[in-house]
Structure formats: C-alpha cells, structure tokens
Subunit: 402 residues, 3 copies
C-alpha cells in the first residue's frame, strides 16, 4: 500500500510546473511524515473512541499511546497491522488534498491542515461510518466497505473548503472570470504516478477485508464477504472508469483519473455488486467527473489536480450508489439494512464534516497569514525560494508548448 | 501484478518519440480497459469451455456472465481471484502487442485487435494447453507452467501477423531496404518501465502456483510443486537473460529486455529446472533475442519494441527447452509424460493460432481502413492530432542527439 | 522486494549527469545479474558454513550448489524462498555501493567488487551476526533483526574503502580542497526512486520475520515476535527519519535519504522498540546523516549519493541504538542477553570486515588498472564511450541551471 505514496509523489511533481516541482514533492512527503506519528499519538485513539458519536467508548483505552497494545506485544499480532493500514489511509487523505493546493500554499499551513485531515477529521468520520459499531451503521445501516465516504468524500470536501480560502494560482483566471489551463511540466510522470496510485489501491481495498479466525472473511462491519467479490468489482469499476472518462474526454490525464473515480465509485459496495454493475457505476462516476471539475472551475475555484471532482464527487457517488442499487442488503446483529436514506445521511454527515472543518481551519490559518506564500515567491517559483536544490540541475529548457 | 501495467505504460511512453508519447499511453490504457469487461463477458467462458478442443465442456456454464460464480458469492472465495489473475494475464498479452505497433496504428483497429487477442485468442490457447484438462496436455503431455506459450508465444506471433499488414513507420526503412534506428524519447523511462514489468512478473509467476487445501502447492496441471522452485528459477532465469543480452549487446534496453526473455525462457519449466540450467536457458534465450530482432527487421518488419523477438521467440524457446531438458517428467492421472514432440506440437499450435488470427484479423481491418492512421497524422505526431493535452506543456526541447 | 531494485535503478540514473545516465543504469543492473548466480554457487554456502567464525559447519553441505535442497524438491518448500530473499539482500548491498561510485568506475572492477561484496563479504557478516547460531549472538548476545549491521553498515563501510582508492570525480574538488556540488540530471526521478526503494524495504523487513509452524512468528534469532511490532516501528522510524532530515536540510533528496536512514536506524530493534522511540532513533539518525556526509566530503572523499552516510552511519547507529536502549533483552537458549558491549563488538567486526575488504580489494584492482576509467572517457561521459544507445535520443538540452 505504500506504493500509493510513491504514486502520489510522482503524480504531484509531474502536475507541477518546473519551477515548483521539488516544493510539491517536499509538501507531499511531509504530509506523510507528520501524519504517521500524530496518528500514533491521537488518530487511532479517535477511531476507537467515537463510534457512538461524541461520547468516548471504553475501548478507546486501547488506543492511548501508552497502552500495551500500542507497541510490540507478543500477545497481539493484529493491532500494529491495523494501525499501520489506517495510518496509510490517513496519509492518503492528506495526499488527496495535497495535490489540489500545489504551487501556492505555505508549508506551515499545509502541514497543520494535513495533520487535522489525516489524524482527526477523516478518522472521526471513519469511527462513525467505517467501524463495526459506528453510529451511522448501527442506526442507519450505513454501508461503505471500501471507504469511499470517510476517505474520499471527506478528503475531497475538505480540499474544497481549503481551496475557497486559499484562492486560485496567479494567472489561473482572467479578469473576465474565464479560466486558463495551467499544465504541469511532465504529463508522462503524472500518468505513471496515477497508475502507481491505482496499483496501491488494489492493496488498499484488499486491506479492507478482514480474516476472522474460523475461516471466514468479513468486511469491516462484520458481514461475511469474499476476496473474490473484491477482485471482480475493483477491476470492473476501474475499467468502467477508464472508459467513461475516455468517452468523455480522450485525455490520458482524465482517463487515469477516471480509473481512480471508477474504483472509488464502486468501493462502497465492493462486496455486493454484480460485476457489470460495478463497471456501470464506475463508468458513470468517471463520465461525470470532468463535468464536476468544470463546475468547480466555473465557480472560480482552482483545483490543480481536480481532487474535488475525483475524490469528492467519486466518494459521494459511491456512497449514494450503494443506496440506489444495494438497498435492503442486510446487516448483522439487528442493525438496520442498507437504505438510500441511510446512505444519504452518511454522505451528508461526511460532506459537512469534511467541508466544514477544511473551510474553518483554513480560514483561521488565513487570518494568521499561514495559508499562502507571498506573490513574488509564487511567481518566481517555490523551488527557487524554498528549496536548496534544483530539480533539473543540468537544465530542462522550459519553453511554451507550441 | 497490476504493477506490470504501470511498467508497460512507462515502457511504451518512453519508447515513443516525443510527438507520440501520450497517444501511446492512451492506447496502452485502453487495451487494459476493454479487455477486463470482455474477459468477464466471454473470455473466462472460453477458458472453461474449450479444454477439449472445439467442443464445449459442461463446466463452461460456470463462466457464463450470469452464472452464480461470476459475482459475489459467499460459497466461493476463489472464482473472482482466478478470473482476476487471468484477466491481468489477458491484459498482458495485449500490452505485448501494444508496444510493437506504436506510432502509426489507428485506435479503433487497435482496440478490436486487443480485445481479440486478450479475450479470445490467447485464452483459447490457454484452454488447450494451460488448463488441468487441456487437450495438449491430456493427449501430448504438454508442459508450460509459467505460460510461456499461451501468453508470450501467442502474443508475439499475433503481433507479427499484425505488423505485416500494418507496415513500418514512415522513415524506418530507406529506399534500398536498409533500416534506420528510431529511438524513443526517454530511455531511462523505458528501462525503469521494463524493471517494473519484471517486478510484476515475479507476482505473475507466483500466481501460476495454486494452493490446494490439504497443504500441497500444485502447478496448473495439478502436479505437486513448491514456491521454492519458482523462487530459484525465476531469479536464475532472469539473471541469465540479463547477462546473455549484455554479452551480446552492451545495451541497457536489450539488457532489461533480455532479463524478460530470460524469465520467459525459463517459465515453461519453472517447477523442474535445476537452477543453473534455468540460468543457461535464460542466457541462451536472451543472447539470441537481438539476433531474432535483426532478422525481423531484415524482413522489412518494423517492430518498435522488439516484441516479436522478446515474447514470440522467448516463449517459443521456453516451450521447446522444456522438451529438450525435461523430457520424461511425469504427469498425473495417466496423462503422457513431457516429451520433445509434445512440446513441439504445443508450440506449433500456439504459433499458428497467434500468427494466423493476428494476420487475418488485421488484414480485415486494413480492408476497412481501420488499421493505420493517415500519413500526415503520423508525420505531425499522434499527440497533436488526437490528444487534447501536451506531454510536456512547458516544452522539452527536441533536438537531434549529437 | 524486487521493487527495491527498480527504485535503485531510477535513483542512480537520476543522480547521474545526463552524460552518464545509461552507464549508471547498466552498472546497477549488472551488479544484480552477477550476484544472483554467484550467490547460488557460493554465497548461500558461506552463510550456512561460517556461523562459528572460521570453521565450516556441518549444515554447509545443504548449501553446496549440487545439494538436494538447492533446487526443486517436493520435500522442501522453504530453501528457495530463503535463498531468494537473501539473494535480493545481497543485491541490495551491491546497489548501496553502486550509487557511491558512479560516473568514473570501470565496469570490470565494479563487477568484481559487487560480487565480493554481495556474495562473500556481507554474507559472511550475516553468518556471524544474523543467523540463529552466529557467534556474535551466541557469545555476545548481538541483536540486529533488520540487518542494519550486516547489510547497511558493511555495505557502507565497503563503499568507503573503495572510494578512497577510486578517488573523486574530476571537478568535484578544487585545488584548494573545497568541494563543488555535482548535481544529477533529474532530481524528481531520484526522489521517486528513493520512494520505491522504501516501498521495497517494507517488504524487506517483513521478510526478516519467519513463520514457524505451530503458529508463532519469530525473528531470525528464534525469538518470538509479531508482524505488529514491525509495522509500528518501520513506519515510525521512517517518519522520524523524514522529519529529522527535513529539520536539518529542507532538501527533498536528503528527506527521502533520511527516511531510509530512519528505517535503517530502527531496523536492529524493530521487534522491541516502543514506537515513539523508533521515531526518535530514526530522527536522530537522519538528522546526523547530512553531517556525516559533510565530514566524508571534507576528508576529500567523493561519495556521489552519500551512501557512506546513509547506509554506513545509519547501520552503525542502528546497531548501537540497540545496545543503548534494548540492553538486557533476553535471548533464547542460554545465549547472553543484548548488551551495549555486544552491540559495539558486532559493529566493530562489521566495520572492519566491510572497510577492510573494500579497501584492499579496490587497492588490488587499482594496481591492475581495473578500477577507474580513463580521464577522457570520464570527461566525455561514459554513455558516449561505452553505451551503444543515447539516453534521450531526441535530445534533452543540457544547460547550466540558472
């Protein structure tokens, strides 16, 4: 699953202009670096603490950083593995935001935002809706086995909130409000990066299945499932997304992004879809994503890698699709079955949680002057002003594409 | 195993000239995208249907797209995983052809060819010779545990058939029939891509071993084997290939390609080789591959990445090597033992199946004008005429190498 | 674990100047190619032979290249897997040295050095201190579960010995002894390569845990441990390293190198650290590494990728840290417990073994004129003089960075 982060690194550096390549790389690496320890100190505790909503569960004691389970312990071969998987999911949420805000965000503000998103906000959402006894599931039958909602919808909504306060890159919009295309410096690197992210997502989704001793695989809600179902539907959702975006755009950046949208769109119901339905859900999600991206741009928001459309929209659609096509699927232990209403409630909660926290936190950072680099740094390029190293020391002649 | 496809993507884009980079990437991605659903709808059915040759087996009912096994099913944790692995093998066959035909094939024609190769042709071959009751094995003792024949030989032969009808790139051959070298735009990207393909092949070959409940690993023919054997011989074949190609060429493109040839050469008998023999078989395969490539070129055929030599020759040699050095190895259930004659029969069947179908299908596409882009598109570059995006938006100054 | 080698390849090519890119790639690939077969013929035998020091153990017979266990053997599913993992570790030691000596070493001399390091020197160290009955452990309680000492310290010390005889690249040092920075040609490629190395290291370290039938995981010394401990401490050590190097340098090359230092620093005691301690050990290791690199440079030694600082220092610190913070940890079977003295003895033995063999072997090669390319090859670039292929056939305009 770590390969996701090699992918995000390549993706984000490729999508930056040559003058900002290394600054984007540093930012991406630092998000990972700060989330892991903070996820140790309080992220995992939050997950265990809040499945009931805002009251602290007894089980949270196992997630305190001095708890016996939070370290080598010969009687416990599981906690570190779950913690590690969740920490990598946490870093993924931060990487989602990280791409959207490149080329003008201040490092300090970014790190604070990344820590909050990765070690507080999404994991609170996960505690509510991606936990065997999260209240969204116990009370409304919420179903999202592949974390489309708590990872992607929350991260995309959080990014949207941040982007509003951060503002567009200089040169993105003209005086009349029309938008310019700001290309990265290396599309092949971006496209290969996306493919590596997708490689990692197969591990990520495989990591959403839990093997219970006694010989049965289950999803995170304790419902029985199979690896077979995950294999079918991840591949079919991915390819539906690739083709949906290709039909709409013919653009390789959108094709690979669409593949990711397809995986996310199918993620919530990976355990239940008939595979051609997973394909169709992925197709629709990816076909719509460029339209969503255009709407975001029309609203004057500069999302450098379309993270809001890919992850925010993809996650939203994935959660809703589960309500449309898997309504009635039973839960264990007298919990209510899957329903459209339950999915809409879950989606609304995640949307509000992600957007609200991203918006308000970035607003506070803006007030303290920690959100955005000065205009001259942005124009000169962040590499020149912040990084003691050149991306291409022997030069890479930058000239306008013909 | 998905990492193979990240590798093919990097490899193929690196091997394209700058004017065709993204078009090559799109083509590669689309092959994957179309094969997965078609492999769901009919590819897997073909595998189950035709082990007897041309009569349909009863077991084929389990592969119909509406069969219970073709979707989430709590009583079946295996089908989706096998289907997924085979679908990825299918996409690999298409990627093999994909590299050979870059920089001048039409997208429509390519997709049709890719679907036929990936979801019909190779899987029919697999049903015959890479199946517990395939007729090549039950009647002739055919042995090819690592799919050198059905994947590589068929894909290489299919590519050869297509290349004949497709014709060389403009500028490849001079009026007097001599050939020019057409380099890609980024050799490091190509070499790293090849390395990623090889990383994935270790997974691919590991995926050729099946764990039978009761504690024994077997190959696809049901013969007992060990992971240990696969580990020894994959590594030794790989390194034999690296060194064989290095001795012959000193060229890093050929070294990495040779490593792949080495793996393919040793693949058919991965379960039986004494490791130094796997090394020698890999060495010989890779030493010969550049010679085969030169012969292909001398015949006026423009194979942009030497797919015919690497995969076609490598697969052929791998299958034959099993007859030369593993003759007499017993099969289970009264099937005849491995023999040189059986291997030659298998190789001939695959060669005819691959070459014949590639040749005739591309001939038909050519008659309908679907095979090749117009000359002016080819000269201008496919990115400019087909892709709404530049590979290097800030420019990457293209100038003749000194 | 093979992905480590895709990473080293990208890393080393990115860190080379454009004129030496492919020569660096070839060198890296050849090290791998020659180590695997030599590790089959004598490397594995050395490991089994010398745990007692210099007397040959009876068990060594199982490692002779004609032994039954050294090939497919239905009664043994383990040897090939262990051998394969160790062979990849061996190739890693050579890759560590490989980066340090780029842009001026002769291919013949390099291959000889790589074979000795990978198939003789480090594996002798492993036999002494990374083996269930290695004398360093049985007599001094030496503890190094993640191979920080035998892999990293030995390889870094060996590289140092070689660099002294090899001498600096032309232009590295001025007449007055001050050093110039010689950048690579593609920092993003280098940074992504480092990230792929790290991806692979998670597999590498996972490969240091052994599953014993009966349901208990153990480390290589037979002490019980858990995957959970490895997951916690690998991630925490990695992030401590990233942040330590960032605090010190703000440089993305050093950040990723620092992440690696962090993993190496925490490796010796992966099974015992309280995770925040692993973070701190990684932080300190990575914070110090650039200082060590500067000291190496001040001594007039040109280590192109800081391998001595990253691997040599990281491995040394990792081994010592185990003596400082895990003193008293018990060993099985009446072996002495972990102690600072035992760790210092182990570190000294590895340092002497690595440095001594690297220094003397390279001295001999130098006397025979096999160590360094002629100055005009070095100035023109090794690609032009040694490689029948251009890295960027369409040109990549090389100009001094502004």
């Amino acid at each position: 699953m770590i390969v996701i982060h090699a992918g995000f690194l390549a993706y984000e550096m490729g999508a930056s202009r040559a003058k900002n390549v290394l600054a984007s790389g540093i930012k991406n690496i630092l998000a990972f670096a700060f989330i892991v320890p903070t996820f140790f100190f309080f992220g995992w505790w939050i997950y265990l603490a809040f499945p009931g909503g805002i009251t602290v569960a007894d089980a949270a004691a196992d997630g305190l950083p001095w708890a016996q389970k939070m370290g080598p312990n010969l009687a416990d071969n599981a906690t570190g593995i779950f913690w590690g998987a969740f920490a990598l999911f946490a870093a993924t949420t931060a990487s989602i935001m990280s791409g959207a805000v490149i080329e003008r965000i201040r490092m300090t503000g970014f790190i604070i935002l990344a820590i909050f998103l990765g070690s507080v906000v999404w994991i609170l959402g996960a505690s509510w809706g991606w936990h065997p006894s999260g209240w969204l599931t116990t009370e409304y039958g919420f179903h999202d086995v592949g974390a489309a909602g708590c990872v992607h919808l929350i991260a995309g909504a959080f990014a949207l909130g941040v982007l509003i306060n951060l503002g567009p890159r200089i040169g993105k919009f003209n005086a009349d409000g029309t938008a310019n295309e700001i290309g990265g410096h290396n599309m092949p690197m971006t496209v290969i990066g996306l493919m590596l992210i997708i490689v990692g997502f197969f591990g990520f989704l495989g990591g959403c299945i839990i093997y219970v001793n006694g010989g049965q695989w289950t999803n995170i809600y304790g419902q029985p499932t199979t690896l077979s179902a995950f294999s079918f539907n991840t591949l079919m959702g991915f390819c539906g997304g690739l083709i949906g975006a290709w039909v709409k755009t013919r653009d390789p950046f959108w094709m690979m992004s669409g593949g990711l949208v397809g995986i996310i769109s199918a993620a919530a119901g990976l355990d239940v879809w008939y595979p051609p339905l997973a394909f169709a859900i992925g197709f629709f999600g990816a076909f719509m994503a460029p339209i969503v991206a255009k709407m975001v741009e029309k609203a004057g928001i500069d999302d450098a890698v379309a993270a809001v459309a890919v992850h925010g929209w993809g996650g939203l659609w994935g959660v809703i699709a589960c309500g449309l096509f898997a309504s009635g699927y039973p839960n264990i232990n007298d919990m209510p079955p899957v329903s459209l209403m339950g999915q809409l409630i879950g989606a609304s909660v995640f949307l509000a949680l992600g957007f609200g926290s991203g918006f308000f936190l970035s607003l506070v950072l803006k007030m303290f002057g920690l959100l955005r680099v000065p205009p001259n740094s942005e124009i000169l390029g962040l590499d020149k002003t912040k990084v003691p190293l050149a991306a291409y020391p022997e030069g890479l002649r930058a000239m306008p594409a013909e």
